[in-house]
């Protein structure tokens, strides 16, 4: 590459801006598309409320019941590990916090770099494990589509390139940092058109689930 700095400045300038634009536009289209469909009036006499159980389910659905845990331990445990690891890496790494300050205007305390580094390594390994699992587990293999593998890739690349950048394993640094930001731009662009929408819509889905069951008197 003949102009690593130029590459870096483009990906974190116009590149990131376009990616954020597509991300925000796409996500809002999807969210509005969901809510505008609404629900038909429910004439059946309720046994319980909707709002409380709805919000409760948003929280409780993150914890698997013992039976599901016993039947799908990999999904539950590795799922927890890589999601939490991803969030820690994304939100509690100080250079990322500065990124968020630049985008949203707010910042928060972070974790020491070596801690985030260790978490990232674990997350990368966990994500590789999920790919192997998806390729081998009969149910996952059956229901997976090319989109699942695309999403895995665009989720994995920021972690990998971030790790490589932090450890300066690729020279020059502007190149690998640029690749890291480019991989994030790719993630953002792909986001609203794939199952990544679940990052936002899962909370809506969980609420509806809790509401539907709660109205019928079933505990969340």
């Amino acid at each position: 590459m003949s102009d690593p700095m130029g590459f870096l400045l483009w990906v974190k300038g116009p590149g990131l801006n376009w990616a954020l634009a597509i991300f925000a536009l796409g996500m809002l289209v999807r969210i509005v598309e969901i809510f505008m469909l609404g629900r038909k009036t429910n004439y059946a006499e309720p046994k319980g409320g909707e709002w409380g159980p709805g919000f409760k389910t948003i929280l409780t659905r993150s914890v698997a019941d013992p039976g599901t845990f016993a039947r799908a331990p990999f999904n539950v445990v590795v799922g927890w590990i890589w999601h939490i690891g991803f969030l820690i890496t994304l939100l509690l790494f100080i250079p990322h916090i500065e990124l968020f300050r630049g985008v949203l205007g707010i910042a928060w305390p972070g974790l020491p770099n070596p801690v985030v580094d260790a978490v990232t390594a674990i997350t990368i390994l966990a994500l590789v494990a999920t790919l192997v699992h998806r390729l081998q587990h009969p149910v996952k293999k059956r229901i997976s589509t090319p989109e699942d593998y695309l999403v895995w890739t665009v989720t994995f690349l920021p972690l990998l390139t971030g790790y490589l950048a932090y450890h300066r394993l690729v020279n020059p640094y502007p190149l690998i940092l640029g690749l890291h930001i480019l991989s994030v731009n790719l993630f953002l662009v792909v986001f609203p058109f794939t199952k990544l929408t679940h990052v936002f819509t899962a909370f809506i889905a969980r609420w509806y689930n809790g509401a539907i069951f709660g109205r019928k008197g079933v505990e969340s």
């Binding site: 700095m5 954020l20 925000a24 250079p95 990124l99 630049g102 985008v103 949203l104 020491p112």
Partner: protein, 365 residues
């Protein structure tokens, strides 16, 4: 004017002892990360070096590079080195002025055609820009450069302006400023960026060229790897604090006073390649980070437009917050329209629906 004396003869004439000279050569060798055995080789080469002609063209520059050069330490030896280069044209350092100065330049270029070293500092307005933006003796920078390059053996672009366009080329670049490499495609160019470059880096590059007579190993930006091959971050004495995640949060806060990493104050050390952290400034007195100021990244292209000196490296350029907002609002509107149309189709479908009857079901049996 070219001299017939060798460098070695000149030095002896000026009372520089053999020992002093060898010490200098040893220092130069180690500065270029060459083994100690190269010291004598350098000495031998410099001994025999004829004073080459150097033409120094200053275009859209602030003279900071010259100021830096003349602050170079060990005045004795570097000055002598300077004495033993025939610096035939330099706006700040020459005695002559006006037509005399231009005449001297033209003569030197003619007499040493094909042999002189051309040094450029400052950027120049591009070939399609109004030549009146920057002229010397009524000659546009571009014309003067083209003419000087024609007879030059090699070109050294000193300072970020000459190497990359620098400050004049920063947004909105009113003069259409370009770098030397943007214009010169057929002669060897060494970039020595920095705003200004470290003094010893300037003289070190010149010395290296004098000694070996060929271009040093250059990186993708034509910068000598000997001085620009390491990032500030990798040589920064505060690196342990970065590694531990200890950062100053504002100027002169507790962390700053403890000498913690300046990443959050905008330090561009991680992406900047220069020798400041090792060679430092003012005879090795200090350098920006050591004095508590984040690295500006001044030896990198477009550093003026790279987001802001006090904005961290990881922060985005532009105003992404408003992008998000504008795109979000647009998305909501687009989504609203799309959803309304879809819903209308659904309600029409529901309204036009024919109820299913058992007779119809039984048809399928």
């Amino acid at each position: 004017m070219a001299a017939s004396k060798t460098l070695g003869e000149s030095l002896r004439e000026h009372g520089v002892s053999r020992r002093g000279f060898l010490k200098f050569c040893a220092a130069t060798a180690s500065m270029m990360a060459l083994p100690p055995s190269m010291g004598p080789v350098i000495a031998a080469a410099l001994e025999k070096a004829r004073r080459p002609s150097v033409i120094w063209l200053s275009f859209q520059e602030c003279t900071g590079c010259t100021e830096s050069l003349t602050r170079s330490h060990s005045p004795t030896v570097e000055d002598l080195i300077f004495d033993v280069i025939s610096l035939d044209y330099h706006h700040t350092l020459q005695v002559a002025a006006g037509a005399q100065a231009e005449a001297a330049r033209e003569q030197a270029m003619k007499e040493n055609h094909g042999e002189y070293l051309l040094v450029v500092d400052g950027s120049l307005p591009g070939p399609n820009m109004n030549p009146g933006y920057s002229t010397i003796a009524g000659i546009s920078n571009y014309e003067m450069l083209k003419e000087a390059v024609a007879g030059a053996k090699a070109i050294v672009a000193v300072g970020t302006c000459a190497a990359f366009g620098g400050l004049p080329a920063a947004a909105p670049n009113p003069t259409g400023a370009v770098s030397v490499l943007d214009i010169v495609k057929d002669k060897p160019v060494i970039n020595v960026p920095g705003c200004p470059p470290v003094p010893m880096v300037i003289t070190g590059v010149l010395a290296q060229y004098l000694v070996f007579g060929k271009l040093p190993e250059l990186d993708e930006y034509h910068r000598p790897k000997a001085f620009f091959g390491q990032s500030i971050h990798d040589r920064c004495y505060r690196r342990p604090f970065y590694d531990k995640g200890l950062f100053a949060e504002s100027f002169d806060d507790e962390g700053a006073r403890k000498g913690w990493c300046l990443y959050r104050l905008g330090c561009k050390g991680p992406s900047t390649y220069n020798a400041c952290a090792t060679m430092r400034w003012n005879s090795g007195t200090s350098w920006p980070v050591e004095s508590g100021h984040p690295c500006l990244g001044c030896s990198e292209p477009k550093f003026w437009d790279a987001g802001g000196f006090y904005v961290p490296l990881s922060a985005p350029l532009g105003s992404p917050g408003s992008t998000l907002l504008a795109a979000g609002v647009t998305g909501a509107v687009v989504g609203g329209v799309a959803a309304a149309l879809a819903k209308k189709r659904a309600t029409t479908a529901a309204a036009e629906r024919e109820p299913v009857t058992v007779e119809e079901l039984e048809q399928k049996l």
